[in-house]
Protein backbone atom coordinates (compact mmCIF):
# COMPACT_ATOMS: atom_id res chain seq x y z
CA UNK A 1 0.00 0.00 0.00
CA UNK A 2 2.59 2.53 1.05
CA UNK A 3 4.90 1.92 -1.89
CA UNK A 4 2.02 2.62 -4.23
CA UNK A 5 1.58 5.93 -2.57
CA UNK A 6 5.17 6.95 -3.15
CA UNK A 7 5.25 5.50 -6.61
CA UNK A 8 2.26 7.47 -7.72
CA UNK A 9 3.66 10.90 -7.04
CA UNK A 10 5.04 11.70 -10.51
CA UNK A 11 1.78 11.02 -12.29
CA UNK A 12 0.53 14.56 -12.35
CA UNK A 13 1.25 15.03 -16.02
CA UNK A 14 -1.36 12.45 -16.97
CA UNK A 15 -4.54 13.48 -18.70
CA UNK A 16 -6.05 16.61 -17.21
CA UNK A 17 -8.55 15.81 -14.57
CA UNK A 18 -11.83 17.57 -14.40
CA UNK A 19 -13.32 18.69 -11.16
CA UNK A 20 -13.67 16.01 -8.57
CA UNK A 21 -15.27 17.79 -5.69
CA UNK A 22 -13.29 15.49 -3.47
CA UNK A 23 -10.94 17.97 -1.90
CA UNK A 24 -7.28 17.19 -1.56
CA UNK A 25 -7.50 13.41 -1.49
CA UNK A 26 -6.21 13.19 -5.02
CA UNK A 27 -3.39 10.88 -4.17
CA UNK A 28 -5.84 8.17 -3.36
CA UNK A 29 -8.39 8.60 -6.11
CA UNK A 30 -8.83 9.46 -9.72
CA UNK A 31 -11.89 10.89 -11.33
CA UNK A 32 -13.12 11.73 -14.73
CA UNK A 33 -16.23 13.40 -15.90
CA UNK A 34 -15.13 12.97 -19.44
CA UNK A 35 -16.91 11.33 -22.27
CA UNK A 36 -19.69 12.38 -24.41
CA UNK A 37 -22.15 15.01 -23.48
CA UNK A 38 -25.70 13.93 -23.07
CA UNK A 39 -27.60 13.85 -26.28
CA UNK A 40 -24.45 14.01 -28.31
CA UNK A 41 -22.81 11.29 -30.27
CA UNK A 42 -23.90 9.64 -33.44
CA UNK A 43 -27.42 8.63 -34.16
CA UNK A 44 -29.04 11.37 -32.14
CA UNK A 45 -31.95 9.16 -31.31
CA UNK A 46 -33.05 8.18 -34.76
CA UNK A 47 -32.29 4.98 -36.56
CA UNK A 48 -33.92 3.30 -39.51
CA UNK A 49 -37.08 2.64 -37.57
CA UNK A 50 -37.87 6.29 -36.88
CA UNK A 51 -37.52 8.51 -33.87
CA UNK A 52 -37.06 6.88 -30.52
CA UNK A 53 -39.22 8.84 -28.12
CA UNK A 54 -39.77 8.28 -24.47
CA UNK A 55 -42.04 5.52 -23.29
CA UNK A 56 -45.28 7.01 -22.00
CA UNK A 57 -46.86 5.45 -18.99
CA UNK A 58 -50.56 4.57 -19.10
CA UNK A 59 -50.92 6.06 -15.58
CA UNK A 60 -53.11 3.22 -14.40
CA UNK A 61 -52.39 3.64 -10.72
CA UNK A 62 -53.07 7.39 -10.35
CA UNK A 63 -56.14 7.09 -12.55
CA UNK A 64 -57.38 4.17 -10.48
CA UNK A 65 -56.83 6.02 -7.21
CA UNK A 66 -58.58 9.19 -8.42
CA UNK A 67 -61.47 7.14 -9.80
CA UNK A 68 -61.80 5.18 -6.58
CA UNK A 69 -61.79 8.25 -4.34
CA UNK A 70 -64.25 10.22 -6.44
CA UNK A 71 -66.56 7.26 -6.96
CA UNK A 72 -66.60 6.58 -3.22
CA UNK A 73 -67.44 10.21 -2.41
CA UNK A 74 -70.05 10.56 -5.14
CA UNK A 75 -71.59 7.18 -4.34
CA UNK A 76 -71.88 7.97 -0.64
CA UNK A 77 -73.42 11.36 -1.34
CA UNK A 78 -75.83 9.85 -3.84
CA UNK A 79 -76.85 7.12 -1.39
CA UNK A 80 -77.47 9.62 1.40
CA UNK A 81 -79.43 11.96 -0.87
CA UNK A 82 -81.64 9.10 -1.99
CA UNK A 83 -82.21 8.05 1.63
CA UNK A 84 -83.26 11.60 2.52
CA UNK A 85 -85.48 11.91 -0.57
CA UNK A 86 -87.28 8.69 0.30
CA UNK A 87 -88.05 9.88 3.80
CA UNK A 88 -85.05 8.79 5.80
CA UNK A 89 -82.74 11.07 7.73
CA UNK A 90 -79.34 12.29 6.63
CA UNK A 91 -76.17 10.81 8.05
CA UNK A 92 -74.64 12.74 10.92
CA UNK A 93 -71.37 13.50 9.09
CA UNK A 94 -73.23 15.23 6.29
CA UNK A 95 -75.13 17.49 8.67
CA UNK A 96 -71.91 18.37 10.46
CA UNK A 97 -70.08 18.90 7.17
CA UNK A 98 -72.82 21.19 5.84
CA UNK A 99 -72.74 23.11 9.10
CA UNK A 100 -68.96 23.51 8.95
CA UNK A 101 -69.11 24.64 5.34
CA UNK A 102 -71.67 27.26 6.28
CA UNK A 103 -69.78 28.53 9.34
CA UNK A 104 -66.06 28.55 8.46
CA UNK A 105 -64.80 31.70 6.76
CA UNK A 106 -62.25 31.26 3.98
CA UNK A 107 -59.51 33.00 5.98
CA UNK A 108 -59.63 30.27 8.63
CA UNK A 109 -56.11 28.74 8.86
CA UNK A 110 -57.52 25.25 8.44
CA UNK A 111 -59.30 26.28 5.26
CA UNK A 112 -56.21 28.01 3.89
CA UNK A 113 -54.05 24.98 4.63
CA UNK A 114 -56.58 22.70 2.97
CA UNK A 115 -56.72 25.02 -0.04
CA UNK A 116 -52.91 24.86 -0.32
CA UNK A 117 -53.01 21.08 -0.21
CA UNK A 118 -55.80 20.96 -2.79
CA UNK A 119 -53.87 23.31 -5.11
CA UNK A 120 -50.69 21.27 -4.83
CA UNK A 121 -52.64 18.07 -5.44
CA UNK A 122 -54.03 19.70 -8.58
CA UNK A 123 -50.56 20.67 -9.78
CA UNK A 124 -49.36 17.15 -9.12
CA UNK A 125 -52.21 15.58 -11.09
CA UNK A 126 -51.56 17.96 -13.99
CA UNK A 127 -47.88 17.02 -13.90
CA UNK A 128 -48.80 13.34 -13.91
CA UNK A 129 -51.06 13.90 -16.88
CA UNK A 130 -48.46 15.77 -18.92
CA UNK A 131 -45.19 14.02 -18.11
CA UNK A 132 -44.16 10.77 -19.78
CA UNK A 133 -43.33 8.78 -16.67
CA UNK A 134 -41.52 5.45 -16.94
CA UNK A 135 -38.28 7.09 -15.94
CA UNK A 136 -36.66 3.75 -15.33
CA UNK A 137 -36.87 2.74 -18.95
CA UNK A 138 -34.26 4.14 -21.33
CA UNK A 139 -35.37 4.24 -24.97
CA UNK A 140 -33.11 2.34 -27.35
CA UNK A 141 -32.19 3.21 -30.92
CA UNK A 142 -34.82 2.13 -33.40
CA UNK A 143 -33.08 -0.08 -35.89
CA UNK A 144 -36.04 -2.15 -37.00
CA UNK A 145 -39.20 -0.61 -38.38
CA UNK A 146 -42.07 -1.08 -36.01
CA UNK A 147 -39.98 -2.25 -33.07
CA UNK A 148 -39.57 0.06 -30.08
CA UNK A 149 -37.20 -1.15 -27.45
CA UNK A 150 -36.36 0.11 -24.01
CA UNK A 151 -33.72 -0.90 -21.51
CA UNK A 152 -34.39 -0.72 -17.79
CA UNK A 153 -31.83 1.44 -16.03
CA UNK A 154 -31.14 -1.32 -13.53
CA UNK A 155 -30.37 -3.70 -16.40
CA UNK A 156 -28.05 -1.15 -18.01
CA UNK A 157 -26.28 -0.75 -14.66
CA UNK A 158 -25.74 -4.50 -14.37
CA UNK A 159 -24.37 -4.77 -17.91
CA UNK A 160 -21.97 -1.90 -17.29
CA UNK A 161 -20.93 -3.29 -13.92
CA UNK A 162 -20.03 -6.60 -15.53
CA UNK A 163 -17.94 -4.73 -18.07
CA UNK A 164 -16.19 -2.68 -15.42
CA UNK A 165 -15.35 -5.80 -13.42
CA UNK A 166 -13.30 -7.02 -16.38
CA UNK A 167 -10.87 -4.14 -16.12
CA UNK A 168 -7.82 -5.45 -14.32
CA UNK A 169 -7.18 -3.83 -10.99
CA UNK A 170 -10.86 -3.27 -10.27
CA UNK A 171 -11.76 -4.98 -7.05
CA UNK A 172 -15.33 -3.80 -6.81
CA UNK A 173 -17.42 -1.25 -8.60
CA UNK A 174 -20.76 0.42 -8.16
CA UNK A 175 -22.43 1.66 -11.32
CA UNK A 176 -25.43 3.96 -11.10
CA UNK A 177 -27.22 4.67 -14.36
CA UNK A 178 -29.09 7.93 -14.31
CA UNK A 179 -31.24 9.13 -17.13
CA UNK A 180 -28.51 11.40 -18.46
CA UNK A 181 -25.39 10.20 -16.79
CA UNK A 182 -23.66 7.03 -15.78
CA UNK A 183 -21.65 7.21 -12.57
CA UNK A 184 -19.15 4.52 -11.78
CA UNK A 185 -17.30 4.32 -8.46
CA UNK A 186 -14.63 1.68 -8.49
CA UNK A 187 -12.13 0.46 -5.96
CA UNK A 188 -8.82 -0.64 -7.41
CA UNK A 189 -6.55 -2.77 -5.28
CA UNK A 190 -3.60 -2.77 -7.65
CA UNK A 191 -2.26 -0.92 -10.69
CA UNK A 192 -1.90 2.79 -11.02
CA UNK A 193 -5.20 4.51 -10.31
CA UNK A 194 -4.97 6.67 -13.41
CA UNK A 195 -4.36 3.64 -15.59
CA UNK A 196 -7.34 1.91 -14.04
CA UNK A 197 -9.41 5.00 -14.54
CA UNK A 198 -8.36 5.29 -18.17
CA UNK A 199 -9.20 1.64 -18.81
CA UNK A 200 -12.54 2.04 -17.06
CA UNK A 201 -13.27 5.15 -19.12
CA UNK A 202 -12.76 3.33 -22.37
CA UNK A 203 -14.39 0.08 -21.24
CA UNK A 204 -17.49 1.82 -19.95
CA UNK A 205 -17.53 4.16 -22.94
CA UNK A 206 -17.61 1.19 -25.26
CA UNK A 207 -20.14 -0.43 -22.99
CA UNK A 208 -22.43 2.58 -23.12
CA UNK A 209 -22.19 2.75 -26.90
CA UNK A 210 -23.02 -0.93 -27.18
CA UNK A 211 -26.11 -0.61 -25.01
CA UNK A 212 -27.80 0.68 -28.14
CA UNK A 213 -29.49 3.58 -26.39
CA UNK A 214 -31.16 6.31 -28.40
CA UNK A 215 -29.45 8.95 -26.30
CA UNK A 216 -25.96 8.28 -25.06
CA UNK A 217 -25.67 9.13 -21.39
CA UNK A 218 -22.58 10.91 -20.15
CA UNK A 219 -20.02 9.09 -18.08
CA UNK A 220 -18.18 9.87 -14.90
CA UNK A 221 -15.68 7.46 -13.43
CA UNK A 222 -14.31 7.63 -9.93
CA UNK A 223 -11.54 5.30 -8.81
CA UNK A 224 -10.06 4.98 -5.37
CA UNK A 225 -8.13 2.58 -3.20
CA UNK A 226 -10.21 0.26 -1.06
CA UNK A 227 -10.53 1.41 2.50
CA UNK A 228 -7.92 -0.07 4.79
CA UNK A 229 -9.26 -2.36 7.37
Amino acid sequence: MSDERTQRLPTLEKEPRTSTGSGGGDLEQATSAAGYGPGGGSGGGSGEGGRAGRFWSVRRLPAGIVALLVVAAAGLLLYDLVVVRTGGSAMAWRRRFAHELASTPVNDPKVLAAACVVSLLGVWLIALALSPGRRGLLPMRREFAGVRAGLERTAAALVLRDRAMQVSGVQSVRVAVGRRKVRARAQAHFRDLHDVRGDLDSALGDGIRQLGLARQPGLSVHVQRPKKR
Binding site: V58, A67, L81, P105, A115, E152, V159, G212
Partner: protein, 201 residues
Protein backbone atom coordinates in the same frame (compact mmCIF):
# COMPACT_ATOMS: atom_id res chain seq x y z
CA UNK B 1 -49.74 -0.53 -25.92
CA UNK B 2 -53.02 0.64 -24.45
CA UNK B 3 -52.98 3.87 -26.32
CA UNK B 4 -56.66 4.76 -25.92
CA UNK B 5 -56.59 4.17 -22.17
CA UNK B 6 -53.43 6.23 -21.90
CA UNK B 7 -55.15 9.22 -23.50
CA UNK B 8 -58.32 8.78 -21.44
CA UNK B 9 -56.38 8.50 -18.20
CA UNK B 10 -54.19 11.48 -18.90
CA UNK B 11 -57.07 13.71 -20.01
CA UNK B 12 -59.19 12.83 -16.98
CA UNK B 13 -56.22 13.26 -14.63
CA UNK B 14 -55.58 16.68 -16.16
CA UNK B 15 -59.24 17.64 -15.77
CA UNK B 16 -59.22 16.58 -12.12
CA UNK B 17 -55.99 18.46 -11.57
CA UNK B 18 -57.28 21.66 -13.16
CA UNK B 19 -60.47 21.50 -11.11
CA UNK B 20 -58.59 20.99 -7.84
CA UNK B 21 -56.09 23.71 -8.67
CA UNK B 22 -58.82 26.19 -9.60
CA UNK B 23 -60.78 25.45 -6.43
CA UNK B 24 -57.71 25.73 -4.23
CA UNK B 25 -56.53 28.98 -5.81
CA UNK B 26 -60.00 30.52 -5.66
CA UNK B 27 -60.27 29.81 -1.94
CA UNK B 28 -56.74 31.07 -1.34
CA UNK B 29 -57.43 34.26 -3.27
CA UNK B 30 -60.51 34.90 -1.15
CA UNK B 31 -58.84 33.90 2.09
CA UNK B 32 -55.86 36.20 1.63
CA UNK B 33 -58.13 39.01 0.47
CA UNK B 34 -56.25 39.29 -2.77
CA UNK B 35 -58.87 41.51 -4.40
CA UNK B 36 -58.31 44.34 -1.95
CA UNK B 37 -54.52 43.95 -1.79
CA UNK B 38 -54.00 43.76 -5.52
CA UNK B 39 -56.72 46.25 -6.30
CA UNK B 40 -59.11 44.31 -8.47
CA UNK B 41 -62.68 43.15 -8.14
CA UNK B 42 -64.01 39.65 -8.24
CA UNK B 43 -66.92 39.22 -10.65
CA UNK B 44 -70.40 39.67 -9.21
CA UNK B 45 -71.60 36.51 -7.54
CA UNK B 46 -68.08 35.22 -6.82
CA UNK B 47 -68.52 32.97 -3.78
CA UNK B 48 -65.31 33.86 -1.93
CA UNK B 49 -64.80 37.56 -2.63
CA UNK B 50 -64.10 38.56 0.99
CA UNK B 51 -62.15 36.74 3.70
CA UNK B 52 -65.24 36.49 5.87
CA UNK B 53 -67.21 34.62 3.22
CA UNK B 54 -67.98 31.07 4.22
CA UNK B 55 -67.16 28.09 2.03
CA UNK B 56 -70.77 27.19 1.29
CA UNK B 57 -73.56 29.00 3.00
CA UNK B 58 -76.82 27.30 3.81
CA UNK B 59 -78.61 29.77 1.54
CA UNK B 60 -76.36 28.84 -1.39
CA UNK B 61 -76.70 25.14 -0.68
CA UNK B 62 -80.47 25.24 -0.70
CA UNK B 63 -80.96 27.97 -3.28
CA UNK B 64 -82.52 25.82 -6.00
CA UNK B 65 -84.06 23.26 -3.72
CA UNK B 66 -87.58 24.43 -4.49
CA UNK B 67 -87.11 24.29 -8.25
CA UNK B 68 -88.63 21.25 -9.83
CA UNK B 69 -85.54 20.38 -11.85
CA UNK B 70 -83.09 20.47 -8.92
CA UNK B 71 -83.43 17.00 -7.42
CA UNK B 72 -83.67 15.10 -10.72
CA UNK B 73 -80.63 17.03 -11.96
CA UNK B 74 -78.56 16.38 -8.82
CA UNK B 75 -79.50 12.72 -8.49
CA UNK B 76 -79.22 12.03 -12.20
CA UNK B 77 -75.90 13.82 -12.47
CA UNK B 78 -74.47 11.98 -9.50
CA UNK B 79 -75.70 8.63 -10.79
CA UNK B 80 -74.17 9.28 -14.20
CA UNK B 81 -70.91 10.35 -12.56
CA UNK B 82 -70.79 7.19 -10.46
CA UNK B 83 -71.46 4.95 -13.46
CA UNK B 84 -68.79 6.63 -15.62
CA UNK B 85 -66.26 6.58 -12.80
CA UNK B 86 -66.95 2.90 -12.10
CA UNK B 87 -66.28 2.17 -15.76
CA UNK B 88 -63.07 4.21 -15.59
CA UNK B 89 -62.00 2.34 -12.47
CA UNK B 90 -62.72 -1.09 -13.92
CA UNK B 91 -60.80 -0.52 -17.16
CA UNK B 92 -57.69 0.15 -15.06
CA UNK B 93 -57.91 -3.34 -13.63
CA UNK B 94 -58.41 -5.06 -16.95
CA UNK B 95 -55.58 -5.78 -19.34
CA UNK B 96 -56.64 -6.36 -22.89
CA UNK B 97 -55.33 -9.47 -24.52
CA UNK B 98 -55.83 -10.30 -28.14
CA UNK B 99 -57.88 -13.47 -28.42
CA UNK B 100 -57.09 -14.42 -31.97
CA UNK B 101 -55.14 -13.30 -35.01
CA UNK B 102 -56.53 -13.47 -38.52
CA UNK B 103 -54.17 -15.31 -40.85
CA UNK B 104 -54.78 -14.48 -44.49
CA UNK B 105 -54.10 -17.41 -46.74
CA UNK B 106 -54.09 -15.37 -49.92
CA UNK B 107 -56.99 -17.09 -51.68
CA UNK B 108 -59.71 -15.11 -50.03
CA UNK B 109 -59.95 -17.55 -47.17
CA UNK B 110 -58.67 -16.87 -43.70
CA UNK B 111 -57.69 -18.84 -40.65
CA UNK B 112 -57.88 -17.87 -37.02
CA UNK B 113 -54.78 -18.26 -34.94
CA UNK B 114 -55.21 -18.21 -31.22
CA UNK B 115 -53.40 -15.21 -29.79
CA UNK B 116 -52.18 -17.30 -26.87
CA UNK B 117 -50.57 -19.75 -29.30
CA UNK B 118 -48.77 -17.01 -31.20
CA UNK B 119 -47.47 -15.40 -28.03
CA UNK B 120 -46.30 -18.78 -26.65
CA UNK B 121 -44.37 -19.42 -29.86
CA UNK B 122 -42.86 -15.96 -29.70
CA UNK B 123 -41.85 -16.49 -26.09
CA UNK B 124 -40.25 -19.86 -26.83
CA UNK B 125 -38.33 -18.54 -29.80
CA UNK B 126 -37.16 -15.45 -27.96
CA UNK B 127 -35.99 -17.57 -25.03
CA UNK B 128 -34.00 -19.79 -27.37
CA UNK B 129 -31.94 -16.82 -28.53
CA UNK B 130 -28.62 -16.21 -26.82
CA UNK B 131 -28.73 -13.58 -24.11
CA UNK B 132 -32.43 -13.95 -23.34
CA UNK B 133 -33.21 -15.72 -20.10
CA UNK B 134 -36.96 -15.43 -20.03
CA UNK B 135 -39.55 -13.81 -22.25
CA UNK B 136 -43.14 -12.78 -21.67
CA UNK B 137 -45.24 -11.74 -24.65
CA UNK B 138 -48.64 -10.08 -24.70
CA UNK B 139 -50.55 -9.45 -27.90
CA UNK B 140 -52.88 -6.50 -28.20
CA UNK B 141 -54.46 -4.48 -30.97
CA UNK B 142 -56.92 -5.86 -33.51
CA UNK B 143 -56.94 -9.33 -34.97
CA UNK B 144 -56.02 -8.02 -38.39
CA UNK B 145 -53.33 -5.73 -36.99
CA UNK B 146 -51.93 -7.26 -33.84
CA UNK B 147 -49.25 -5.60 -31.76
CA UNK B 148 -46.83 -7.37 -29.45
CA UNK B 149 -45.43 -6.30 -26.10
CA UNK B 150 -42.34 -8.26 -25.13
CA UNK B 151 -40.66 -8.31 -21.78
CA UNK B 152 -37.24 -9.92 -21.89
CA UNK B 153 -35.07 -10.90 -18.97
CA UNK B 154 -31.44 -10.55 -19.98
CA UNK B 155 -28.95 -13.20 -18.97
CA UNK B 156 -25.75 -12.11 -17.24
CA UNK B 157 -23.22 -10.73 -19.73
CA UNK B 158 -25.80 -10.34 -22.47
CA UNK B 159 -25.49 -7.27 -24.69
CA UNK B 160 -28.80 -5.42 -24.91
CA UNK B 161 -28.38 -3.95 -28.40
CA UNK B 162 -27.63 -7.22 -30.18
CA UNK B 163 -30.29 -9.02 -28.13
CA UNK B 164 -32.95 -6.63 -29.41
CA UNK B 165 -31.58 -7.06 -32.92
CA UNK B 166 -31.83 -10.84 -32.72
CA UNK B 167 -35.32 -10.78 -31.21
CA UNK B 168 -36.55 -8.32 -33.85
CA UNK B 169 -34.78 -10.03 -36.74
CA UNK B 170 -35.58 -13.61 -35.82
CA UNK B 171 -38.39 -14.16 -33.32
CA UNK B 172 -40.60 -11.24 -34.34
CA UNK B 173 -39.83 -11.63 -38.02
CA UNK B 174 -40.65 -15.34 -37.94
CA UNK B 175 -43.87 -14.72 -36.07
CA UNK B 176 -44.82 -12.03 -38.58
CA UNK B 177 -44.16 -14.17 -41.66
CA UNK B 178 -45.69 -17.33 -40.22
CA UNK B 179 -48.91 -15.51 -39.45
CA UNK B 180 -48.60 -13.81 -42.88
CA UNK B 181 -48.98 -10.39 -41.32
CA UNK B 182 -47.85 -7.31 -43.16
CA UNK B 183 -46.36 -5.92 -40.01
CA UNK B 184 -46.13 -6.77 -36.36
CA UNK B 185 -45.30 -3.64 -34.37
CA UNK B 186 -43.65 -4.49 -31.10
CA UNK B 187 -42.58 -2.88 -27.89
CA UNK B 188 -39.62 -4.58 -26.24
CA UNK B 189 -38.66 -4.01 -22.62
CA UNK B 190 -35.36 -5.36 -21.36
CA UNK B 191 -34.77 -6.21 -17.73
CA UNK B 192 -31.94 -8.06 -16.08
CA UNK B 193 -31.59 -10.58 -13.30
CA UNK B 194 -29.51 -9.36 -10.44
CA UNK B 195 -26.38 -11.47 -10.20
CA UNK B 196 -23.13 -11.40 -8.27
CA UNK B 197 -20.18 -9.60 -9.80
CA UNK B 198 -17.57 -11.99 -11.12
CA UNK B 199 -13.92 -11.36 -10.71
CA UNK B 200 -12.08 -11.55 -13.99
CA UNK B 201 -8.33 -11.31 -13.74
Amino acid sequence: MDRALRYVNRILLAVAGVLLLALGLAVLAGGFDLARRMGFDFPVGWPWARPEDVLLSAADRTRWRTESWWWPAVLGGLALLVILLLWWLLVQLRRRRLGEVLVKTGDGEGALLRGRALSKVLEAEAESLPGVGKAAVRLAGRRTEPRAALELLLEPHAEPGPVVGRVAGEALENARTSASLEELPAEVRLRAVRHRPERVL
